[in-house]
Subunit: 368 residues, 4 copies
């Protein structure tokens, strides 16, 4: 297996006429909180540069479909329109080739030649009939690279991920071996996993033998009630001496967790953030310095996280590198929702996430 090689970022050549002749970008003050000017510029996942007082500035911590404000200190803030405040200076412009002082840099990580092939492939629809052997190998290399170079790997999980003993063990092994620096999920995933830790069931069904316990649906409700009585997940772990599974291993290894609430939640667990927009803000805080994101079996969270994840990251030393985004789901419909990102950094795989995570844990040598 060849070693992973980080693509180089090629900065735009601002000495080109297109940049030199461009006007300064315009901006306009927001008229009230959460309302932006007509003709506001909306961000993509690519690096975007704005000409401010004759100088091209990168909006560093970007995301999709957001506004850009020019702050008092001169830096550019990429901010959801709902979070814009009255009088914030909002950048304008709906062209991206310097016409209005805005430049979107789509091909910063591309080399001539072979990369184009890659890109072509990545844009095609992917299905259960795609060959994924190379994707697995590349993912193993990437995860090892991230672990060795201080990258940040964030896992995003749908509600059903904790239904299977092997998947739960594989994920725990990945956490314990340094392959997880963040977890984004909802109330259901966390509750199912804690039910596994306390009772070895999920929704009352044994996570190994598949045998449904009589009255088993109370297992789920009892776990929620017990954690609420304990007051927090860590206290619940202490009260019942639990150390097993995804949530426990994250807490034991100081992996930050954001749990977002939804209208279908029972409970919820005390840590769940009920307000969707506060939850989204907290998720983006986790994502801001993330370098690899892996989304497993959740359309809702995958779309949410996909939209708040740019294709690039500015490291502390100023280096710009890609952010890698994986989406894994049993359903072509879900993974293909993300496909039009059109970026070399997005990889979609169609499979059962239980098998995916087991293969990843085996491939990284953390599970037999």
């Amino acid at each position: 297996m060849p070693n992973f090689e980080m693509p180089q970022y090629h900065h735009p050549d601002f000495t080109q006429e297109m940049f030199v002749n461009a006007p300064n970008a315009k901006y306009e003050a927001a008229e009230k909180d959460g309302v932006v000017p007509e003709n506001f510029h909306s961000t993509s996942m690519y690096p975007e540069y704005f000409k401010i007082n004759g100088e091209w500035k990168l909006a560093k911590e970007s995301r999709m479909d957001s506004c850009v404000t020019l702050c008092a200190d001169g830096h550019l803030e990429v901010i959801e329109s709902r979070n814009v405040k009255k009088d914030d200076n909002v950048l304008l412009g709906r062209t991206e080739r310097c016409e209005e002082g805005v430049y979107m840099h789509c091909h910063g990580f591309e080399e001539a030649g072979s990369k184009l092939d890659d890109q072509f492939v990545f844009r095609q629809g992917r299905s259960r009939e795609t060959s994924y052997a190379r994707d697995y190998d590349k993912l193993f290399e990437l995860l090892n690279y991230e672990k060795e170079h201080g990258g940040k790997i964030v896992w995003v999980m749908g509600p059903a991920f904790a239904f299977d003993k092997d998947a739960r063990s594989a994920m725990q092994a990945l956490v314990e071996n340094g392959y997880a620096q963040g977890l984004l999920a909802g109330n259901a995933l966390a509750t199912h996993d804690l039910e596994g830790a306390l009772l070895h069931t999920a929704l009352g069904q044994d996570i190994y033998t598949q045998i449904s316990q009589p009255n088993g649906h109370y297992n789920h409700l009892d776990v929620l009630n017990k954690v609420r009585r304990s007051g927090s997940i860590p206290q619940f772990m202490k009260d019942y001496d639990l150390n097993d599974g995804i949530i426990c291993s994250c807490i034991n290894n100081n992996v930050p967790i954001v749990l977002a609430g939804s209208i279908r939640d029972d409970g919820p667990l005390p840590e769940v953030i009920g307000n969707a927009y506060q939850a989204a803000n907290s998720m983006r805080e986790i994502i801001r310095d993330t370098t690899t994101v892996i989304c497993l079996a959740t359309m809702l969270h995958t779309i949410a996280v996909g939209n708040m994840t740019p294709s690039f990251r500015v490291l502390k030393d100023g280096t710009i590198r890609p952010v890698y985004l994986y989406t894994v789901d049993a359903d072509e419909f879900v993974v293909n929702k993300l496909l039009d990102r059109g970026s070399l950094s997005a990889t979609t795989m169609v499979t059962n996430v239980q098998d995916f995570i087991t293969l990843v844990a085996k491939g990284l040598g953390v599970m037999k």
Copy 2:
């Protein structure tokens, strides 16, 4: 087409020994807000009776997976555990055949004989290969019955429902002809529909010609910003003189709408309830006196609404009737999630919801 016949409810015969000999149901005060006693009873979708001071009382406005509290005035309240307050008297017991003074009445609407066949059929998995001709005919009869007898029909819609001109027109015709008394959806559905009203696109793609407009994704973001500037959807309709589509027809016909927020929302629209649990509370307020619920192309909302919808309704005159629940989705996986309700009142159909709603509008004679 035969006329719809409302099934009769058969009350339990409380003179039977099983009921007479049963102990009173126990209850216990909640120790703090949102935490219920061990051994709390959790509700199903069926009518449930509790023996209180020797008398069997029905918990009238029920839902799944919730607690029951005995109120000061003696009535039984079915309440989500997160909404239980300290010192509320929470009913206990995990048996449902009178052993602990609790009785679940699963077969109240069944006749001997033919009904059993029906029930057998409804429990089977349903797929794209199921015959739905009778389901359509029954639905037409049911909707006409509801309209004529003061029933309440609530529609639950996923984000993509407004992408198609015909589906939007069909739904508008149903609203305008009195076949909708409530709408539950999210920010995306409402925004797509309002984009259709203002610009004849959804996410920038024409809802009839399918042609994508250049820079069309701004259509979506601009609509959100404009409504936020207007301050409300009704004001936005006035500001731009809009009267077309699902949302406008609901507002023009005083059909109440609840829009629940989610982490994937852009905007959101001013009416969207950001807190998931407040949204769930508002949704249940709509559902409390609903008699027919139709869920279209949304797993999240379908599960949420399915859990808060009981199989029966106590009408103002004391009559007990079934609540009818339909789930329509292109994906067997989604509709079968609801199947284990095991009730004669749940019908699942596998099809594209655009075609479904057009057939319903044509079948009811409100669309050519």
Copy 3:
């Protein structure tokens, strides 16, 4: 609804240098039956021209992935390699821009401007979230055009199409009203439909009430045995006085049927062609002069027919027109298999075929 307009075919301009300077196409005799020379040319679905003795000739009745032979009379025959005979002259060449005397004419039906948009749209993935309103309207226009102008509409059906009373009635109405000039299906579809005609069930389940008859699987086997005893489907219809459903209406209206055998068949019916390659030959005979093909809920037959259907047809008067191909299935995976045809003549729709056919019959006014 605007009237359907048949796209004009633009012949290649053979006076262009590219054509004038091209070499004659080469050919080589097949060394034995069913084995073609190395470097054989394989056809696409587009019109292809071959330079023979300085003259550009069109291979008229084309299909995908087949060989072209130069016949003694000078005409070009598009023929599956398995049907090539020893000493047939097989055209060579793997370039399509005249380099080897072969020219593939991909854009013959395109106008400048708006058609390009269309084409772009048709190449995108389609899903349950695509707007199909215009596709329905266009299909209604097309089917009326075909009926009025002597077109030939062929329907291709998967095994489950006959499970639903309404779908069966809708198809019968289309046949009886002149919207069907051919039917391609398998043993299962025909058997299910005849079971419906004889016993009002499909696989023992009532096609309207959905009630499963006791011992109902014998219905299927009994129908097969009875038809085999009768010796043919028409004799079976006489013996049991049947006139209802898809197969009966085809036979009563002289619509030719080809039934292809498969390894999962019970029976089979006497008319079923057991040999897959003889069946494919018979199917192609039907397809040779077909102008519109509609494939419903069958991956196997859709791929088979898709491959044997070219994008163009040379009418008797020499006019060249498009062949329209529709694929309708509940599953994105199936319809998207055909998408890479990349032709304006291919339309894919994701829905339950029962609803599709009912909407088509209502849209054409042949069903209430």
Copy 4:
């Protein structure tokens, strides 16, 4: 991992009154080839006994939906009705509790108690959200048991199974290590796999890098033509010195292959059986003494093989044991088609078959 334990077969107790009082089974001569008497008995997948001259006889080599004939030597032959000859004595009767001298023994392998739970679980719908950890462990044990005890493991493969390098290598390793005694597939699977062996592509796309070769679709057609020129697959392997992949390893290890033709075939390869019913006959010859069948990503072959596989096998020493049947597919719809077998011996798993086979090869220790 506990060792696999073969369930014991419990013979019916023929001393019971029900059996003693039963009439002899009736039979009637077939009136012509392929046509059986009215009221013919059709088989299930369970052991079935027929009372012949006062003695209960088992129909040993059974399958679903077939006739039973009483042969001159007194043994009972389970035979597809199409293969029945004029004057064959066909068993009659449509009851299975001795009423007509026929007894179906559904519960022969069950123990009291825990097995019932198992069975209940196996009958439920299975989805991407089912826990499969135990199913994998049981499968590893089963395959090792079969290998050590002279069992016969047959693999059934859909056309896309050979698209992925890892899946191909995993399957090759299983063949080379004695875990395959038969392969049932179609023309496409074999052609894709041989294209991988010759050119490292499948349909022109590299099976590892996913890069599509220019003009790559000729790879597929060229392989077919070359094998046809060689005259057979083994000769083709010699002519081009190939030893890699699924087909080559089967041939090198004397694993019998049956390739069934279909209407979508290119080519076909010389070994493909074009007549569907001859192919089905050949497949059943392979299945007759098979003890474990694993169907991967093919609805057509899975249904065909599922129908010809009984739930039991009579070994040479007279012992009766279960036949184990696995169905693995990415689509719930496909696997659930087989679910109503209702037998403890059928296991369905929802995942990408590439990952499945890799996990199996790793789990058995034949792949790193």
